[in-house]
Assembly symmetry: C2
Homo-oligomer: 490 residues x 2
Amino acid sequence: MQKNKITIEAIDWQPNKNSKIPLYQQIIDYISKKITSGAWLINDIIPSQRELANKFKVNRSTIVYALDELIAYGILETESGSGTKVANNTWSLLYNDNNLNWKTYINAGEFIENIPTIQIINELEFKDYIRLSTGELAPKLFPLQKFQKISSLLTNKITSLNYLGPLGLLELREELVKHLAKVNIKATTDNILITSGSLQALQLLSIAMIKPNAKVYTETPTYLKSLQLFQSAKINLKGIEMDQEGIKYWQINKDNNDSTFLYTIPDFHNPTGITCSLTRREELLKFAQANQLAIIEDSAYTELYIDEQPPPSLKSLDNSNQVLYLGTASKSLAPGLRVGWIVGPESIIKRLGDVKMQIDYGASSMSQWLMYEFFHSGEYDNHLQNIRQELKKRRDEILSFLNENFNKHASWTIPKGGFYIYIQFNQKISIETLFKKALHKKILLNPGNIYDYKDNNAIRVSYVYEDIETLKESLLVILKLIKSEEKQGK
Amino acid sequence: MQKNKITIEAIDWQPNKNSKIPLYQQIIDYISKKITSGAWLINDIIPSQRELANKFKVNRSTIVYALDELIAYGILETESGSGTKVANNTWSLLYNDNNLNWKTYINAGEFIENIPTIQIINELEFKDYIRLSTGELAPKLFPLQKFQKISSLLTNKITSLNYLGPLGLLELREELVKHLAKVNIKATTDNILITSGSLQALQLLSIAMIKPNAKVYTETPTYLKSLQLFQSAKINLKGIEMDQEGIKYWQINKDNNDSTFLYTIPDFHNPTGITCSLTRREELLKFAQANQLAIIEDSAYTELYIDEQPPPSLKSLDNSNQVLYLGTASKSLAPGLRVGWIVGPESIIKRLGDVKMQIDYGASSMSQWLMYEFFHSGEYDNHLQNIRQELKKRRDEILSFLNENFNKHASWTIPKGGFYIYIQFNQKISIETLFKKALHKKILLNPGNIYDYKDNNAIRVSYVYEDIETLKESLLVILKLIKSEEKQGK
């Protein structure tokens, strides 16, 4: 089992430099308290000397002194290769020699740990790193005035925040019926389940409607591969190649397994940016119909088009009820709302709603009311128009920057919407090494291999999170790293 | 497999009485559309004639006429015993003979359907029923003015709603550190994970930290038995009897299985209302320590004491780190916030946070900010004081009413806090029959057997949801039903 590495949030505690207690003693006390309180467990790896010195803003020698003391007490222990670990908890032994061994619990369940790279990303996103790949709009693109207006409206409208029914806030589902009708998706309120983001819709499907060992086809690379949801439910993901028209559906070799799905992102695909053509959509639907293949259509980026609307959704073209349609406010408006929706046949929606009631009793009513009011007031559509302009500006600037600087080293698809440019390097380099070297430069990036079925040669770049100038500077740093990797590869 | 019964939300559609199209034809068109759109699936049972007539506010004869037509077309089919089912979808066959058979998907996953009684309760709570057992405060007890004040504060404080880190909003965790310190629970922000209600904390534990086939001990009866979460993860629940002091822990026969837990609600137990005594708590902790038994302490009702604070929590008495502590705003403030927290060793919290990131990327930031501000402003504590007075008034009134009317027929424990009085009938009656008969009187109640390991003779009554007068009237109806059941039993 992988050793647990402890991280410390700087805000948590800082030594008091005006105290009469020496700094090294304060640090000894802090670490001791962490161990006796059970916050740090035996065999956990503590942060490195350098990290501790940075975190507590003290000299490294102070840290060395404190750690040496703790090692002398037998509290900590140096382990060659992996750092310093918690070896004992003498203080707690004084009053209790029977501490529970949580290590036997920590991975006992079937749900898999996140991919290590993603654990690092999730952790470091909130530290002082440049986020080159982050899948959300920059905080400054949040429509603050609209939010304030809508919050005030709601404050006078909401009279309580009780549990909601299994499918979520009726008023929100009514707005969604209208919203979906604009893109020719016919639904009643019984065809819509509100979820805590699209991710939860996928979770519900994975535990309720797909047999263990069943197959789920996806594009390759694909967002779904970066999750462990389906793997945790013992579902077999199968990657299908894409070309510039979309997924090469004819490579799907569907067997007679009962609950096979295709998961697809036809619009502004994550991570490649490819949009599936209308012809390919029509062919895919015919294929799905002939093969009794259910489709999960993830439309997370659909409304974030830049040049023109993408072709009609699979759901709107579907006359044989093959398609479950996922929508979300996370990409277009605010991920912190945790509001998504799944559209499908009433029985399916009812089953998923029943499961949702059993795992968290529904999504936040506060968030659902906010989303309702965003739709109802028309401000959601207004916001989208503003965002589309911003997306266009950002994408065009980054594309011309890439053309100038990267065209000898990499290729990419021009995204017609969404957040991402997927940069594929011409020469074979280690994408893991690039990730680590970028970290040392304080740049956090999403390597392509977390989305892929095999090792690859790509990174996902988002043009919506960091400022354009920061993005350009960081991309130049990446370019430098790439050049040096290329040399080494020769 | 159980047949899916279709329900119709009245708001969804109503026939137009001023239209030139006859009412029966409108109803035929409505049902046809439901079937061709895939909202109603083949073999689904449609609502009864009576229900349809009520829903559409038409004469039953109109419904009979419409259904007869649809049966004549072969679209519907009468099935003896279970009603009328969808038999065919001729319209859709006109343009497509290859509709996907969703029936093979609907229960393909491992997550179990909810207990049928609870599915009915979840559905009917939002219809016109008296809710005798509902586990939430009445909407009128929502602190509306405080909420409005806090919403206004927040509207000026929030600048965006982006994704949060794996453990949830840091500001909220900082407030929780202070809040927990008041009841002598020592924690740092790293020891706390924000969840979407306590239910999600249980879900996370069930999928991350408990082995399939491992045992989880609970009181009997217990709230946990009314969930299918643990069963869906193939965990074995084992019921342990209680007396008036709490769980008879000495009946736990712990084997050497790695990830055994005890799940307990020591304060104002759901559903029995029993509070575990201090002595029993101390003994239980010693037992847990000697047997390496981890404890999940559910404190959902702890702050809702009436007469005096309950004894110290297991968590605050625990000096061997055996206890994971669950807290929530759902019972004390507003379930619609979907904010709960789990307190435990840092490594455990980190593991659960990693899983939470993988299933829904965290709880609503809007809800978390609201909860933060409720704590920070002191309004949460003020609200609790008001609620305690209300609880006292309501409990005392219902207790004296029960003493007057029920004492020949039933017994109960006097709750010192929380929401529930658990009424156990003296004579053996069918609690399922009582549930159904009450439904006909438009009263929705939670029969004791949904919480129990065996059939039982009890109902859970909540004194916090309906008005006192409504409660009394409904209890008189129940009493009448009980008396008639008693007679039949003789």
